[in-house]
Subunit: 196 residues, 2 copies
């Protein structure tokens, strides 16, 4: 159930899968990674695959922050590497030290409850405990932005499997980025290609 104090729509969390950048920490080291936060009616949850830093941190701390941003470079960088320390900011709330992204439009901090662990993944229910609305920006939908997100997803799959079909998909989405993106999207795509 949602915390009664949180209007998740106002914070940007709508039904379906929200493509966020999740920040976690273990000790004093923050980590960022793109992650889908799943909202179905009043239930929010996340599925984390074994082997990732996020998985390890959530297992230890039972806590994540979901950051909402339309900055394609943040998606590209955090897919392949950690962000620089200067990208994060720290908030302390009721004994929780939480790291979020400075440039997020908004973020929601969740406690992870009822975690279920299978051989491949962990599913955790998310209960919001703190949030911030930093700044709201109107931005027309850009197919190039979404092309960067798809390219990042397929790049992750390529790195996990080595299957070349993913390279073709990255190229197809790269073409959409080149056609429809602005400089921000094109630079993010370059970064994806650099990491492959």
């Amino acid at each position: 159930m949602l915390g009664t104090d949180f209007n998740l729509e106002n914070l940007g969390i709508y039904e379906g899968i929200c493509e966020t950048i999740v920040t976690t920490c273990k000790g004093w080291t923050p980590n960022a990674a793109p992650m889908g936060i799943i909202r179905r009616k009043d239930k929010i949850y996340v599925r984390l695959y074994k082997g990732s830093k996020t998985y390890e941190n959530v297992l230890a701390e039972k806590f994540i922050v979901a950051n909402i941003t339309y900055d394609p470079m943040l998606f590209a960088l955090s897919t392949f590497t950690n962000l620089e320390d200067s990208a994060f900011e720290q908030t302390v709330h009721e004994n929780h030290t939480m790291y979020s992204l400075k440039d997020a439009q908004s973020w929601v901090a969740f406690e992870c409850m009822n975690t279920k662990i299978t051989s491949e993944a962990m599913v955790a229910e998310l209960v919001p405990i703190h949030a911030r609305l930093n700044k709201c920006r109107v931005k027309a939908p850009n197919r190039g932005f979404y092309g960067v997100i798809e390219a990042c997803i397929h790049a992750t799959r390529y790195q996990l499997t080595g299957d070349e079909k993913y390279l073709k998909l990255i190229k197809a989405y790269g073409d959409i980025v080149e056609k429809c993106g602005g400089d921000a999207e094109k630079n993010a795509l370059k970064k994806v290609y650099e990491f492959l």
Copy 2:
């Protein structure tokens, strides 16, 4: 060149192709259709294909309004049919009667200059003359929303050519909508399938 009074970023018009819903009118009948507004540095333009209502209206009135929205149903409906009159609102500014979408987060009205007409299309430079910022909403990126936009684009191509490859693409994007979308995106996808 941009009008000096307009900060187009604040209104949501960034570099690249902005996926907007363009409203035009001829006489007193407003029309809405999804359209990419192209911004490269300080130049904004639009390419309109012959045979569309938008083309006809721009040819007559040399005027368009670009509406920014993340409502997937507005994209689905305006791809295939006109919106109901109640979806529009009217503004009069310096002798121009302009129609915009009530539910747009923002809209920018442009005069169409230096129109170039080829056998297939018209390219017009856009000069902003009026704008409104209605409401700003934070919403996490949703792959299902973009899936609806892609499905609408391929549906238009399918209707123009009858080429069945577009049906396969619509189905592929439909799968993303079913997986990642909320009810808004799923209902919009149903509407796309109804019109095919």
